[in-house]
């Protein structure tokens, strides 16, 4: 675990520099610049189509970068500048960085050909090279933590949506990520199980110093766990502040309107 003394103080854990993302001819993100500090929990809010999920997918390298640079701990993730030119980074370097990043998806995406335990230990054993017994011990701890200690040998299809998502969270945590990306993790769930999943995440937030980048429509959750909230609109960050300010006294009219709309629905 990094402590404040051995981490370089000035180095943000995620940095977007002049990031632009286009899908075909549609520009989703434009001249996007922001940094996220180590241990910080940041929630992205904004109307659908504002580019929130795209930001997460860019960090996980699930999408190509149209222009600009992304840095993880100061190291270029997709492109780097060499002799004044923008060149792709090596696959090796990229893999080195992405192993520090975990992601939980809206649709859980558990592997149906494996049991719960196998889902959790697969990557730690084969990607990180952890020995099997340690990986299994850790998986049991994590299942305990997400409240599913008795589902070790269950099959994902035999679990409810909320249970599957909690396993997916355990699977991501088993990789000991420095950065955890949460992409609308409760949007596909029945309302009554949303609470369970959010409770697990609140617990993770309270007990670890993992950096979190969160996209969610659960505003009270965002308010509770975030250090900072960024409001996106039309592919740009229009406002970034602590949750208290954003939710009670936003500077921008657009933020006020957006929050009024989503909070009325809630």
């Amino acid at each position: 675990m990094p402590t404040p003394t051995d981490a370089k103080p000035a180095m943000p854990v995620i940095e977007f520099r002049d990031v632009e993302k286009q899908f075909d001819t549609k520009t989703v993100l434009k001249e996007l610049n922001f940094t996220i500090e180590r241990g910080e929990r940041v929630t992205l809010i904004g109307p659908s189509g504002s580019g929130k999920t795209t930001i997460l997918r860019l960090v996980m390298t699930l999408e190509g970068l149209t222009d600009g640079y992304i840095y993880i701990d100061g190291a270029p993730l997709v492109y780097e500048q060499r002799d004044g030119k923008r060149v792709p980074v090596s696959k090796r370097q990229q893999k080195l960085l992405t192993t520090r990043i975990g992601m939980v998806f809206q649709q859980f995406n558990l592997f149906p050909n494996m049991t719960v335990l196998e889902n959790i230990i697969e990557a730690p054993i084969h990607v990180l090279g952890i020995n099997k017994r340690d990986a299994i011990d850790r998986a049991h701890q994590l299942l305990e933590k997400v409240g599913l200690p008795d589902k070790t040998d269950a099959h994902p299809t035999a679990l409810s949506g909320g249970q599957q998502q909690r396993v997916a969270i355990a699977r991501a945590l088993a990789m000991d990520p420095e950065i955890l990306l949460l992409d609308e993790v409760t949007s596909a769930l029945d309302p009554e199980v949303v609470v369970d999943v959010l409770q697990v995440l609140r617990d993770v937030a309270a007990t670890t110093d993992v950096t979190m980048l969160i996209v969610t429509h659960e505003m009270s959750f965002a308010r509770d766990v975030s250090h900072r909230v960024m409001m996106l609109d039309g592919g740009k960050i229009i406002e970034s502040a602590d949750p208290e300010t954003i939710f009670t006294n936003p500077a921008k009219e657009r933020t006020k309107k957006f929050l009024a709309a989503v909070l009325r629905d809630a």
């Binding site: 192993t99 558990l110 592997f111 149906p112 990557a123 269950a154 035999a158």
Partner: protein, 250 residues
């Protein structure tokens, strides 16, 4: 000629023909499967240099007839150099021809594995061989099996074409026997029944593979349950997919 004499005379040849047909079906079938997987994986690649050779091979062998391929390999190729034996030519042509069709089935089923599964492997930083072997292929396997079964049955029936390069497989022997006897009707029935039975065995065997692969994906009963009629009657997988959790036997 009475029945007995004819059978004593032709029986062993008919049997040899049947064995050759089975040999071609099994050997070419297995090799075609390997070719299909290799070409299918290549054809699904995002890299042009990997995809292009696979596409050329697939399109060539799909786009030209098996008959012409056999003629080329057996009669024309020796004019330029190597002369392969009839058996080798037959296996080679059947393998590539059906392998090319199979490759399309493999490629299509790989792309049918939900996008989310590919993304989950990326989020866990799995390498290409790792994710293919452990995550993507096992799921695609369940999807490709029905098509591969079809192709295998096609191969069984299509194998009769090797008579044009002088191979005495089952259909050829059947026709020989017809020429020396007047049992057109009886022999035609034998032809139907024998191919039907072989095809039936192939499809049932593949069904078991399919059931096993579905069970591993958490859909449907285990092989044990399928093979024991008592249990299958009790559990109806179609009604309650969620209730069929795998037992401890995995």
């Amino acid at each position: 000629m009475n029945y007995l004499d004819a059978l004593v005379m032709h029986g062993p040849r008919l049997w040899d023909g049947l064995l050759l047909t089975l040999q071609l079906t099994v050997v070419s079938g297995l090799l075609a499967f390997v070719v299909a997987v290799v070409l299918g994986l290549m054809a699904g690649s995002t890299k042009l240099l990997v995809r292009l050779p696979a596409r050329i091979i697939i399109e060539f062998f799909r786009g030209t007839s098996l008959l012409v391929q056999l003629m080329w390999l057996f009669y024309v190729l020796p004019l330029f150099g190597p002369s392969l034996g009839a058996m080798l030519v037959a296996i080679f042509a059947l393998t590539l021809n059906y392998g090319a069709y199979g490759a399309e089935a493999v490629r299509a089923s790989l792309t049918s594995v939900p996008q989310g599964q590919w993304e989950a492997t990326a989020a866990l930083s799995m390498s290409w061989p790792h994710k293919m072997r452990r995550i993507i292929f096992p799921q695609a396997w369940a999807l490709m099996l029905p098509s591969l079964t079809n192709l295998w049955v096609h191969l069984l029936k299509g194998s009769s074409i090797v008579y044009i390069i002088g191979m005495s497989e089952f259909t050829f022997e059947l026709l020989q026997l017809r020429r020396t006897t007047d049992w057109l009707f009886a022999l035609a029935i034998v032809g139907l029944v024998v191919y039907f039975i072989i095809a039936l065995v192939l499809t049932q065997l593949m069904r078991l593979f399919e059931a096993r692969s579905k069970y591993k994906l958490g859909r449907g009963p285990s092989l044990k349950e399928i093979l024991s009629p008592v249990l299958t009657n009790k559990i109806s997988p179609a009604d309650e997919p969620a209730a069929v959790a795998p037992g401890g036997a995995r």
